[in-house]
């Protein structure tokens, strides 16, 4: 039986069980990640991190979870109340959707029922993940907007801009995978990775995906919306108590989703790492084993998140957007074309080559033209000042006092007879 048929046969109790599992998995992993992050970052920064509550501070997240509901909830006067309350729900709920299509493993038997370790295997699985993350943006924007205060608004906008910018890059990286598997179903994608994982065979796409995944989740070094030095805490500045927690959880579940997605797309999904899968005729790819590999890979990715957070300084916003739009997007597009060319190279016709050649030439020309020229960037720009309030130019330089030439001084001297104040302008340097 195929994966889809197996899943379709799931009785309702099994579905509910899986739903519950995914829900708990998400929450628990999020909590563990929070803990692990604090510990790891602490270690990286030569400090212990949480260590009071439980062994190694393991119970710290639980303590926090108990503490937060008892904090006072403050809603700003200016807030749009309904939207303000709705935003956290909108941020959290869709994140779980992403996990619903992830294949956690292969065929197993649960209480005698043959099934697959996956909630649903939709033919459009990849799109579901992308769509869910897009819906999540609404939560962010609405949170920022409905707070009715400047910092959250700007934070929300930044965050949204960031997420959608990197969603492009991410989506394009995924296209490369689909070009190989011809299916949007995540199960098929995992099945498609015989031997070499896509992470290696499609290395550029993998790199783009990794960068985009970090950007997509607003994580360091791309945590610009929450740049404390600029925007306090970004879109959830005005959120407190449990509502804040929900955003927090949402962020971590998002990390889990993109990690799981990355693992599925590029790291062979639930398949055992190369080497282990050779053992015992692929025994480690059967039964419940794949789940271990999958969760392990997610863990790896999460560690990577934490690692770079501890390692890299925060990007500047303009650099960040530049990276996304001017680097990742074009590279992805070129990679897609290149991949297609390779795929259909055997049936290529002369016309095809000509067109591809033309495309390459165009691309080269465009690349050359894209090199910024050295002209004055303000050329042709209308002066900014003169509006409602004066705005000094961004690169304001205080002009150094010009040295007066002899001629100028003599002219000034002549003028002295007329203008009495001219003398005060002389600073005696010359």
């Amino acid at each position: 039986m195929t994966r889809a048929e197996l899943l379709a046969d799931d009785p309702i109790w099994l579905i509910l069980l899986k739903v519950l599992f995914i829900f708990l998995f998400a929450l628990l992993t999020a909590m563990i990640t929070v803990w692990a992050e604090r510990r790891l970052i602490g270690r990286m920064q030569n400090r212990p991190g949480p260590n009071r509550v439980g062994p190694f501070g393991l119970l710290q997240p639980i303590a926090d979870a108990i503490k937060m509901p008892f904090k006072e909830e403050v809603i700003p006067r200016t807030a749009d109340k309904v939207t303000y309350r709705l935003a956290p729900v909108l941020a959290l709920a869709p994140t779980l959707i992403g996990l619903s299509v992830m294949p956690f493993g292969g065929q197993v038997s649960i209480f005698g029922e043959q099934t697959v370790l996956q909630l649903v295997d939709l033919p459009v699985g990849v799109l579901v993940v992308l769509a869910a993350s897009s819906v999540g943006v609404y939560g962010i924007v609405l949170a920022g907007w409905s707070s009715g205060t400047p910092y959250p608004l700007l934070g929300g906008l930044r965050s949204a801009a960031q997420v959608i910018s990197y969603e492009i890059a991410m989506g394009l990286a995924i296209v490369a995978v689909i070009l190989q598997t011809h299916s949007l179903s995540l199960g098929d994608i995992v099945d498609g990775q015989h031997g070499l994982w896509f992470g290696l065979s499609l290395f550029p796409a993998f790199i783009i995906y990794i960068i985009a995944m970090v950007g997509e989740t607003n994580r360091a070094p791309f945590d610009l919306p929450e740049g404390e030095s600029e925007l306090v805490a970004g879109f959830h500045t005005e959120y407190s108590s449990m509502k804040f927690v929900i955003f927090y959880i949402a962020e971590y579940i998002n990390m889990i989703v993109v990690s799981a997605m990355g693992a599925t797309l590029f790291l062979g999904g639930y398949k055992a790492p190369w080497g282990i899968d050779q053992i015992n005729n692929g025994y480690f790819n059967t039964g419940w084993w794949p789940m271990l590999w999958f969760i392990g890979k997610i863990g790896l990715a999460l560690f990577f998140f934490i690692w770079i957070r501890g390692t890299l300084p925060r990007y500047r916003y303009d650099q960040f957007m530049k990276l996304g739009w001017k680097f990742l997007v074009p590279i992805s597009l070129v990679f897609i074309v290149a991949l297609t060319v390779v795929n259909v190279a055997d049936q290529m016709t002369v016309t095809g080559w000509l067109i591809i050649g033309g495309f390459a030439v165009l691309l080269l020309i465009a690349l050359v033209m894209m090199i910024p020229d050295r002209r004055d960037p303000r050329y042709g720009r209308v002066p900014m000042s003169g509006g409602s309030f004066p705005v000094p130019p961004i690169d304001l330089q205080i002009p150094s006092k010009p040295r007066r030439t002899k001629q100028a001084r003599s002219r000034a001297g002549r003028r002295q007879t007329v203008a009495a104040g001219a003398k005060e302008g002389d600073d005696g340097v010359s």
Binding site: P123, V124, H182, S183, L184, S185, M369, R375, Y379, G380, V382, P383, M384, S385, G386, G387
Partner: protein
């Protein structure tokens, strides 16, 4: 669903494309894309020259390829290409020729920089009107040169629109032609508030109308299982499916089309947009959009719905009458030249509709010919309007036109001639146009409609005459506008329009022959 398709299915081959037939469109689209690149890579100082050269070359090249194709004896019945989505038949070719010629004139008007220093377009549209920057840029000689690629896009959209053989292609073409126009409306250098307002109105109403068109498309798809006009016609001829879908779809579809053609009760945007848009764009819209929209209407009515014409013709009668009456009567009260011409265009749309619903060979050729004549006349008329200026830009208020004949007899004479053409006085193309369209109408037994149309054109003549009266019989106002001496571009455009109006009025036979050489292929 797509993902469910087994990857092993038979390879999907490339469609047969008759490149020589659609070359004009390809050239225009290519040039439009090249225009975008010019915007990107050419320095600001050279952009205008580059864009004008590119646009004019593109239109001329498209025209050359068009002429080459036409003289190369294309199949008499016409042909369909690109999976039967584009029909290159005689009416389409006629409309293409018309559009290319009108487009050339419009581009010339757009490119003119002598009438207004720096052209009629704003230097940087992003600057807020009324600010200091705005005042600075009003003085500058710059121009938003994106207008040129936008024009080319719109023009190619129009060409596809009148050749589209299925509703989806038609819809895409509709948007390709509309979206640039929305933007171009908001780019006037002077009176930017009005210009922006025109753009918003045009956009909102335009999008509204295309939604109607689309819903009509969807219902017809449900009815016929295809959006190809021919398939819809087949289904309508013998289908058990519910007529609700057919006529609901038809109604919505036609509303969208009529809107674009600024017909009758769907005209609400026309006066505002014509008045607010930069005059060269108004000229472009008034001339080319009308041609394209009626090209589409003709094709849809004739190819898709001829067999059901009994059911819908009555409704379109009413629409045509409404359009003529609205145009003629409301035109009487206008005090602004551009608004007046807008109402005139609404009235003309009513006349055109008479020809369009006549169907048949005569209705087709008559409407095509009328479009040709009206396009050139209106193009030249707006060209003339752009020349009458005072310190605040164009002096479009009618009171300022008083005694203009004294200031500039040539301009007044040209404008009078054009107005007479619009009024349908013999020896102008407008008369022949009316004659052929009304002839088709009477031929199809629509005599009452034609009589109403004639009365409406008599009423409409009143407001044309009012302008003539003002120009010739009134004494000039002391602070009246001056008439700018047009540069070469505008002169050529106006001359083109006037000449065509005159020639088609005197010896229309050749154009009538072109218009009546064939029917739609599908």
């Amino acid at each position: 669903m797509l993902a469910l398709q087994p990857p092993t299915q038979a390879p999907i081959g490339a469609p047969e494309i008759e490149y020589s037939a659609i070359l004009p469109i390809l050239i225009l689209l290519g040039a439009a894309c090249a225009g975008v690149l010019v915007e990107a890579f050419v320095s600001k100082a050279n952009r205008w020259a580059a864009q004008v050269t590119l646009s004019l070359l593109a239109i001329v090249a498209a025209g050359a390829s068009f002429i080459f194709y036409v003289t190369d004896a294309p199949p008499q019945r016409g042909l369909t290409t690109l999976y039967r989505t584009i029909a290159v038949d005689r009416p389409a070719l006629f409309l293409w020729g018309t559009l290319l010629a009108l487009g050339l004139g419009a581009v010339l008007l757009i490119a003119d920089r002598t009438v207004e220093r720096g052209g009629a377009f704003v230097a940087t549209a992003g600057i807020r009107p009324g600010t200091v920057q705005d005042r600075v840029q009003a003085q500058s000689g710059g121009m938003q040169t994106e207008v040129f690629p936008l024009t080319l896009f719109a023009l190619s959209g129009m060409m596809i629109f009148c050749a589209a053989n299925d509703l989806l292609t038609m819809f895409i073409a509709l948007e390709v032609l509309s979206l640039p126009l929305y933007l171009m409306c908001g780019l006037a250098r002077r009176r930017r508030l009005i210009s922006q307002e025109a753009a918003v109105k045009y956009f909102l109403l335009g999008a509204f109308a295309s939604a109607f068109f689309l819903y009509g498309l969807a219902l017809l798809y449900g009815y016929a299982g295809s959006v190809k006009l021919a398939d819809i016609a087949n289904a309508a001829a013998g289908s058990a499916a519910s007529d609700t879908l057919l006529f609901g779809g038809f109604g919505l579809l036609v509303v969208g089309l009529l809107f674009k053609a600024s017909v009758g009760p769907f005209h609400a945007w026309t006066p505002d947009v014509y008045q607010g848009a930069p005059t060269p764009i108004t000229a472009f819209m008034a001339a080319c959009t009308k041609v394209a929209a009626f090209g589409g209407i003709l094709r849809v009515l004739t190819v898709g719905f001829e067999s059901t014409s009994w059911e819908w013709r009555g409704v379109l009668w009413v629409v045509a009458i409404a359009s003529m009456v609205i145009g003629a009567v409301l035109g009487l009260t206008q005090t602004d030249v551009k608004r007046m011409l807008a109402y005139s265009s609404i009235a003309h749309a009513g006349f055109l509709l008479v020809g369009a619903i006549a169907l048949g060979q005569e209705g087709l050729s008559g409407t095509l010919f009328y479009l040709l004549t009206y396009g050139f006349t209106t193009l030249a008329a707006f060209g003339v309007v752009s020349l009458v200026r005072d310190s605040a830009g164009e002096a479009t208020h009618l009171s300022k036109w008083a005694g203009l004949a004294k200031r500039s007899p040539v301009l007044a004479a040209v404008f009078t001639f054009l107005l007479l053409a619009m009024a349908g006085i013999p020896l102008t193309s407008g008369f022949i146009g009316k004659f052929v369209v009304f002839q088709a109408g009477i031929q199809e037994g629509m005599t009452p409609l034609v009589v109403i149309a004639l009365i409406a054109s008599a009423v409409a003549a009143f407001f044309y005459l009012r302008v003539i009266v003002l120009m010739y019989f009134s004494d000039p106002a002391p602070d009246g506008p001056s008439v700018t001496v047009p540069g070469m571009f505008t002169t050529v455009a106006i001359t083109l329009g006037v000449l065509v109006t005159l020639v088609l009025g005197l010896v229309p036979a050749f154009a009538l022959d072109w218009a009546s050489t064939g029917t739609f292929a599908f």
